[in-house]
Subunit: 212 residues, 2 copies
DNA sequence: ACAAAACTTCGGTAAATGCCGAAGCATGGC
DNA sequence: GCCATGCTTCGGCATTTACCGAAGTTTTGT
């Protein structure tokens, strides 16, 4: 349920019961436990109850646990079996991960558009200008519910890439400009020739290697 | 058990059974589970098995969960009932917390001795010089096992203070210089007149209010 | 070689947990 | 006003869990 919410931000009790594959009554009981524990919050809308993750701290908690699970789970897995494209650039839920995701993230920090704070990454004054000049909206779907920006531990690459609403908006822009292409149900993201120049100029990266 | 290990770094199965108040056989079973889950690691020494937390990522995980528990737990508590001294300066396991802990932490970041990175706080080149010039050892007990520096969410004050081995070494130095005094079994830390001037000069703080 | 210490494995028990279906409560549509 | 929908509460069942003590294993000390 928490992982489903980590992706979809807002889900009803019925939907959460469906993803967990349990009866609505069981789901209801479990959802109250999660709510009492402060992990999720509930909002009554009509005759539905819409649940979402309480705040960014809880998101980090969930990410930390899933990242740990990935580390443990992949301990005896052969990572080299992953297609090269997936290692290089892949979707992490609804934003960009893999080597390309980490490169973009690093470039935005070293370019002074983002900075690290004890509460996580933050958009600088420069960054706000940069985002709007590139027509990358500060506004994204479910803005009021979703963590705008966070760091995502990248288990295929060992670094960090950007997550949260702004990261999702970034990916949407890249796809819109045909710099990247995604296919429904596939985790791999393909970098177009246009993207090599576009992303390269925008972030000062040499991406000719990344297509692999 | 994990919280005990977060403080003591290395504990034997017997000791962990004692802190959890369960029979050695039960502890053994549980420790196996934690080990399989990759949360703790085991080292055979003589006839004992010494357990410690696997790595810094797991430390972060534990800290995140305890921090969340603090947030939730303190939601319906009356914080104002805490003695003023505890709110101002208190022990957080083996290092300095409370308002004073946060002030010292902030001063070290803004002084350029520490900086934030995605993996947590880091000592800068300046900071290393500063630490050694103040005779605050980079070396501390269990150095090889313990996280050297991390951020601790401070639930009495709402900010962050420093944790980890370096923070423990800092407190030890402050106590040694009689800037602060601790009493066995007590969480409150008292700031001496010497400390008001000493810490004040060292970190550029006006601490006359903090004694409260 | 023998005993003690530290830990694990095994068998059994009591408590907690997850789960479901039926019934009960709100809300929205007709 | 009435029914359908979405959710919760309740009672009860099956499974799982935590736990202990006894017995077994390895290592240390004498």
């Amino acid at each position: 349920m928490l992982i489903a919410l980590r992706f979809d931000c807002v889900l009803s009790a019925k939907e959460l019961a469906a993803v967990a594959n349990i009866a609505p009554s069981t789901a209801s009981e479990h959802l109250t436990k999660l709510t009492v524990a402060g992990l999720i919050s509930c909002k009554k809308v009509g005759r539905s109850r819409l649940y979402s993750i309480t705040d960014g701290d809880v998101c980090d908690l969930i990410d930390g646990i899933t990242a740990h699970a990935d580390r443990i789970g992949s301990r005896h897995e052969d990572k080299s079996r992953l297609p090269k494209a997936v290692k290089h650039s892949r979707l992490c839920l609804d934003h960009l991960g893999g080597e390309l995701g980490c490169l973009v993230s690093n470039a935005m920090f070293s370019g002074g558009y983002l900075r690290h704070t004890p509460k996580g990454p933050e958009v600088t004054r420069d960054g706000e200008g940069w985002l709007s000049s590139h027509e990358i909206g500060k506004h994204f779907p479910n803005e009021h519910l979703r963590c705008p920006l966070r760091l995502c531990h990248d288990w295929t690459h060992g670094g960090y890439h950007l997550g949260g609403g702004i990261a999702a908006a970034l990916l949407a822009t890249f796809v819109e400009r045909d710099w990247l292409r995604t296919r429904r149900g596939e985790i791999a993201v393909s970098l177009t020739p246009k993207g090599i120049t576009g992303l390269g100029k925008t972030f000062g990266l040499d991406l000719r290697q990344v297509t692999g």
